[in-house]
């Protein structure tokens, strides 16, 4: 009688293929992202929502790594988790203490948010269906600063400038809001 292991071990390469491992990693990342996103939307406590958002953003960073874009992944963590989420948490902490009751859901708010997200979903879906997904001719794993810098200032110069424009608008907005608050306080 041939033992079971003697059959299994030589056939392991056929049993576990690298594509499958990659697929498993992909679905794991997708799962983490979706779980984070769902808890960011449906949980009642705002601090849990923001933690869900952080998990989702880490999932997206994982997707970038899966797609061989280390730079984007690290920037995703540095900017979205490190700067944006922390400022949101900071703002939240300055608001409601933990022992207060969870706020109730307002029906109008729910409807409005569902409407907006459906519209955005429709937009994205139409974009996804229109885009022909072709495999790239070659995959680059050249993520040195020189390459990234060259690309930012040549091929993606316009996008780069647009983003800085958005940032300028945000800064002006922040100054206006903070300045008005100060003025009102000093008038009182």
């Amino acid at each position: 009688m041939e033992p079971l292991m003697a059959v299994i071990i030589p056939t392991l390469p056929e049993l576990i293929k690298f594509e499958w491992v990659a697929q498993a990693a992909f679905y794991f990342i997708i799962g983490v992202t979706l779980a984070g996103a769902v808890s960011a939307v449906f949980l009642r406590r705002i601090i849990h929502n923001i933690l869900g958002l952080i998990v989702a953003l880490f999932g997206v960073a994982g997707l970038f790594i899966y797609l061989n874009s280390e730079f984007l992944a690290l920037m995703q963590i540095l900017i979205y988790v490190g700067a944006i989420c922390i400022s949101i948490v900071f703002a939240i902490m300055l608001s409601d203490p933990m022992y207060k009751e969870d706020p109730r859901r307002r029906l109008t708010k729910v409807f409005a948010s569902v409407l907006v997200s459906l519209l955005i979903l429709a937009g994205f879906l139409s974009m996804i269906t229109k885009t022909p997904f072709e495999a790239a001719a070659q995959r680059s794993d050249d993520w040195t600063v020189t390459t990234v810098g060259n690309l930012l200032l040549t091929r993606y110069a316009l996008v780069f400038e647009l983003i800085s424009f958005v940032l300028v608008v945000a800064i002006i907005g922040a100054i206006v809001i903070a300045g008005q608050g100060r003025k009102q306080r000093s008038l009182k």
Partner: protein, 349 residues
């Protein structure tokens, strides 16, 4: 007797498998390919090093503090109290890990782990010597900066989940301090990156083959040192846990091993920021005669020594002084430094 319970069974099967199927070795080699072996060994080494480093630093801190205050410090356990930190660690391990009733339980339990994670990740790219580096990523420096954000989130969660006003205040202070001091760190590191033209740790060190960046960029080095001391919540900047006013800040409610994890993270962070400083400004593993690893550790521990001495010599800054220092002194200075560096490089080349 069934074949499974035979101890030599697996071995015979393996040899049979190899004889019958040469493809098996190919597969096994791929599966345990170099990368995975390096990753596993690297992780084990990191965990061992983190523990030993923390124990050594706690002893150093006890002794330095003692001698600065003209007392012998710990003397009882082992030679000159050498085993005291080991005993402390053992005590913390067996101590009951209390969970106060009013806390938000899942987050309270998760916080120490979240604080400790970036430590493990940062060690991956630290260049201990020319060859002793777990992964020499192209964006190594960026990896450390990106994951240091996780540390803040952990502190925030700890402070919030503890449901204690001192903890929450400590966490809030920690965040505003971190937001303020992350900018000068990034800017001063940038001026070195501009000179070395790379974010890869090995290339950053290699760029200092002839002359250390500390000599060319003294201002950036000082800014980086001050700001990283603030980031690790060490004493002139330990507002988040100022024991005089906040009990212990964000880890007031923690005890046992969970408290130890916070401590382990703090001492490891001290090592990490000093190691990054050595990589950026003090030529990493470069040095005459002695092997690279010894030079690297020597430089790092001299820096750590300075940080510890600073803790016991300087008084704590007030919170507004802390913010003024970051926003009105360090950030403008580092911006100007970056500008001048870029200009000079363009003019020289």
């Amino acid at each position: 007797m069934s074949p499974i319970s035979d101890p030599g069974f697996l071995l015979t099967i393996l040899t049979q498998a190899v004889e019958r199927e040469p493809g098996f070795w190919n597969w096994a080699f791929h599966w345990f390919s170099q990368e995975i072996v390096v990753a596993v060994i690297g992780l084990l080494l990191i965990i061992a090093f983190v523990t030993i480093n923390a124990i050594g630093l706690i002893y150093a801190e006890l002794k330095i503090a003692g001698h600065i205050q003209r007392r012998p410090a710990t003397m009882e356990v082992g030679w000159h109290g050498f085993l005291q930190p080991v005993m402390d660690a053992a005590k913390l391990l067996v101590k009951e890990a209390m969970t106060p009733t009013a806390v938000n339980r899942p987050l309270f339990l998760a916080a120490p782990v979240i604080v400790f994670l970036p430590v493990l990740i940062s060690f991956i790219v630290l260049p201990f010597s020319e060859k002793l580096i777990v992964r020499d990523l192209n964006l190594g420096l960026l990896l450390i900066f990106a994951f240091s954000a996780l540390n803040v989130i952990g502190i925030l969660i700890a402070g919030w989940a503890s449901n204690n006003k001192y903890s929450l205040l400590g966490a809030l202070r920690s965040v505003s301090q971190n937001i303020a001091y992350e900018i000068p760190i990034l800017l001063s590191a940038m001026s070195v990156v501009v000179m070395a033209n790379s974010l890869k740790m090995s290339e950053l060190v290699a760029a200092q083959d002839k002359i250390w960046f500390f000599i060319i960029q003294p201002l950036a080095a000082i800014i980086f040192f001050v700001a990283t001391t603030a980031e690790t919540n060490r004493l002139p900047f330990d507002i988040p846990e100022a024991e005089g006013e906040l009990v212990a800040g964000f880890h007031s409610e923690y005890s046992g091993m969970r408290f130890a994890l916070f401590f382990l993270a703090e001492y490891s962070n001290m090592f990490i920021v000093s190691a990054v400083f050595v990589t950026l400004f003090l030529g990493g593993w470069h040095g005459p005669i002695l092997p690279g690893l010894i030079w690297f550790l020597l430089k790092v521990y001299i820096l750590v020594f300075i940080v510890i001495v600073a803790r016991w010599t300087f008084p704590r800054l007030r919170f507004d002084q802390l913010m003024t220092l970051a926003w009105k002194v360090l950030i403008p200075l580092s911006l100007a430094n970056l500008l001048v560096t870029a200009l000079v490089i363009k003019l020289v080349r």
